[in-house]
Each structure stands twice: as structure tokens, then as C-alpha cells.
Amino acid sequence: MPNIQKLKNLSGKAHIVGVGESNKLGKVPEKSPLAHHSEAAVNALDDAGLQLSDVDALFTAGWSTLDVAEYLGIHPRYTDSTSVGGASFVIHVAHALAAIAAGYCEVALITHGQSGRSDRAPIPRNPGAPASQYETPYGIIGPPISYAMAARRYMHEYGEDRTRQAMAEIAVSTRKWANLNPMAYFYDKTTSFDDYHDSRWVAWPFHLLDCCLVTDAGAAIVITTPERARDAKNGSVTILGAGEGHDHSMISQMPDLTRAFGRNTGPQAIEMAGVSHSDLDLAMIYDSFTYTVLVTLENLGFCGPGEGPDFVASQRTAPGGDFPLNTNGGGLSYTHPGMYGIFTVVEAARQLRGQAGDRQLDKCDLALAHGTGGLLSSTGTVVLGAE
């Protein structure tokens, strides 16, 4: 089990000093996934006032760090290709914290790049994996169907109508945030509750507007020591708490379809940071689907099991509401190239540094970023603080 006292000693021992996206998000057929990695890396390093030649640790998922480092022309002294779905990049933040504190490296670069929309170089599936035997032959393939089965079980346990209303609330509130973010895919397109309920079925009980976008995009994060963070060009963000883990791969092996692993990683990250839920000014929660947000709010401990629908009622998570959630517009309305987790950290860092433009929160001193990977399989949570 994690040793929370040792983890508390690690709290604050590394800072995020740079974040960035690739130059263009959305439909970008003219760029490869590695091009997205490299653009985002350069942008994040520029944000930090650093160069590729300063980087001595590389973290990525979906690709091997061998390929990404070679493409960037760097020779890292610490390497981590932990790849457990979209949560990976949040987990990389925790790994970078530990590696920097231990002395393995000083400037850690986390990169992401995917052409989910244009389907360039998709990640291959393993034919020997159990899913290839037990789920794929039945057409249980990909996230929408798997998450839809989890959502249907939640409806059975906690009420179909109130679950449906909660999913609609999340779809509508997230779009309102996207309407404030010029980088968002749906920056110019508003959505209403009627639009939500009228949208076509993808995998019942999911409407189209329950589902994230499929885009081409990349992002990167630069992390360094507290000492070097003092020279950061645009300020820094302290990494205060972290947790990671997973409890299944296939959806049919999930121990409880209404309780993902955030039940462990959320409380751990918050305790390590030495804060409480009510101290947090912003929650960036991976929204592959509206249901993912609903169940994750409960798992992280913001409310109890089955209380999520009441927690998100009446557009409480929208701009102006008292629980700011997914202020970049999320995977639902900003961007989602396949493994979105890194973007939760990018937005949290921008809000904490006061660089979020029209969507900047009045007060943002503490933020939680949470990634979910696979089929509700893995989670990574970090708590970040303003300097």
C-alpha cells in the first residue's frame, strides 16, 4: 500500500513549468502523430523558457519513448513509456515528481500526440489479449459500448431518469466552457438540453452528445526541480499530490461498474497534498463520456455513491457555477484524440497560472486533474497548486 507519510515528504518536490498543445487541434490530416508530439514539446518548452537540449527525461504513452526521443533528437537519461490508456499522462506527472525528487533527472518532458480523427498510425491491438477472445467476437469493441454498459448498470442502481438528466447537465455545461476557449473544437457551437436529447444514439444509453470528440491533437508538459522552477518564464505550478492504479482491463472484468479506481487515487492524491475536497478551486476530470464524469465525481469523493446527479444539477459545473469543472471544454467539446488525459493537466496549469483567457477562474489556487484510461480501467490523479 502507498506510504502516505513518505508521499507527503515528496509533495511539492517538483514543479510544472511549461505546458502546450500542438499548433493545430481538430482535423489535421496533414500531420503525423509524431509531428503533434514534437510541436507540443517545443511549445511547452518555449512556455517554460527551456530548450529540447535541456530535457533529460522523457515520458510518453501510445508510442515508445524510443521513437519519440529519436524523432525529437534527444538522449534521455530517464525513460518511462507507461501506457495504460488516457490516464497515462497524469500518471507520468507523478512519475516525473518521483524521478526528479530521487535525482534521476532535472527536466522531465511528457509528450502526447495522436491522429484519432485522421486515423494515421492507430495504436495496434494485441491479438493475444483476453479481450480478443472474450469481448471482440461479440462486437464489444471500443469505449462507447463498454462505457454504455457501465452507465446502464448505474441507471439500474440509482435511477434512469435522474442519471439521464445528469448526463445532459454535463454535456451542456461542458459545451458552455468550450464556448469560452478559442482552441476548442466546438468554440463556435452552442448546445442546448434539447440538442442533447435529440442527438442520435451511438450506443444506447449514450446519445452522440454523451460521447467525446475524436480529433487530431498533441500536448506536452515540462516538469523540473523547485530550484530551476524559479527561472520559469511564465511561472510554475507545484505538484502536491498524486495517485495511480487500475483494477481491470476489459469492461466485463470491472469489479464494480459504478466504482472506478479513482476511489483510491483521488483520496490518496488529496491526502498527500494535505488539502481537502472543499479546498479545490477546479476539477479537471477526464470526460470520455458524460457518464465518466458523473461516476468519477463520486469515486473521487466529491459526493457519495448515487449522489452525482444531485451534485451536477442546475448547471452547477458551468461557467459562473460554484463547482468549475473541465473549463477547457473537455474531451466532450474541446479536443479528444484518443488518450486525452494530458489535457486535464495542461488546463489545470493554465488556470493556476492565471493564463486561461476568457475562461479564467476568479480564484484558482488548487486544482485536481484526473485521468481515466482504457475501459474505466486505470486512473491517475494529481493535485496541483499555484505558486
Binding site: S132, P137, Y138, G139, I140, P144, M149, A203, W204, I251
Partner: protein, 140 residues
């Protein structure tokens, strides 16, 4: 999409040959822990529940009695092999032996009102021309 692309077929591994061979004979064979009596799905080389470190497994034929645990209705084919099947019902069913099995519900129209969680199900063995048999379910 014409539906002419073949569906992906299962790729059995040595520890699951007995499961797939059983389905061909319209029998459901499951593993259980010798030490605890707890069943497990899918077949593995060891029991995932142990008692005093005993991870021995044995094979037992299941009754086929099942209930619906949850479901979804796929309206967009996630693979070209399923293009001719949408909408179709994907489900997780709980066997009498207390294991969850991923499957399809067949023999009813794919409408939410036709499916109640907890409804009793019985097995349907779908023999495929390429030699394997899939385990599906229909209302009992």
C-alpha cells in the same frame, strides 16, 4: 459498409482451449478454485482466489442459467464486421455460478424496453462457419 468484412474471431490460448471446445459441443465449462470453490471467468493458468496459497484450478460444467447484469445497444458498428448487425445488443450476464460473461442477447428486438436487468436468460450456441462457437443468450 456492406457487412462483407468478416467479424473478428476468437484467438484461443492453451488455457482456454477447453472453454472453446466445450462451446462447440454446446457445453459451458468454467474454471473454479479447488481451494475455495469460487468460479472464475475467463480461464487462466491459476486461480485468482486462493486459500493458503493454493491456486489449483478445476474445470466444472456450468448450468447455463443466467441473468442480465447490464447491456447496451450498439447503433454504430465498432468494426466493419458488425456493419450489417446494427443495432445489436451487447450485454454482461451473470451466470448461476456467479461469474460475469460478455455476450450478445439475441432473439428479441434491440429496444431498451425489451430488456430488464435481472431478467432470466438461457444460452444460445452460435456455431460459426469458420469453426468456433460463440456463447450468446436469449430470454428464458
Amino acid at each position: 459498409m456492406t457487412g462483407n468484412t468478416p467479424k473478428p474471431q476468437p484467438v484461443p490460448q492453451p488455457e482456454s482451449d477447453r472453454y472453446w471446445e466445450g462451446l462447440k459441443n454446446e457445453e459451458i465449462w468454467l474454471q473454479r478454485s479447488v481451494a475455495t470453490g469460487k468460479f472464475q471467468f475467463y480461464p487462466r493458468a491459476l486461480a485468482i482466489e486462493d486459500a493458503d496459497g493454493n491456486r489449483e484450478i478445476e474445470w466444472v460444467q456450468a448450468t447455463g442459467n443466467a441473468e442480465l447484469f447490464t447491456f447496451a445497444i450498439a447503433h454504430i458498428a465498432p468494426h466493419p464486421g458488425f456493419a450489417g448487425d446494427v443495432p445489436y445488443i451487447t450485454a454482461l450476464v451473470k451466470l448461476e455460478e456467479d461469474v460475469i460473461v460478455p455476450t450478445n442477447i439475441v432473439g428479441i428486438d434491440p429496444e431498451p424496453e425489451n430488456l430488464q436487468i435481472g431478467m432470466q436468460l438461457k444460452p444460445v450456441f452460435k456455431h460459426h462457419e469458420r469453426g468456433h462457437t460463440l456463447l450468446m443468450f436469449t430470454p428464458a
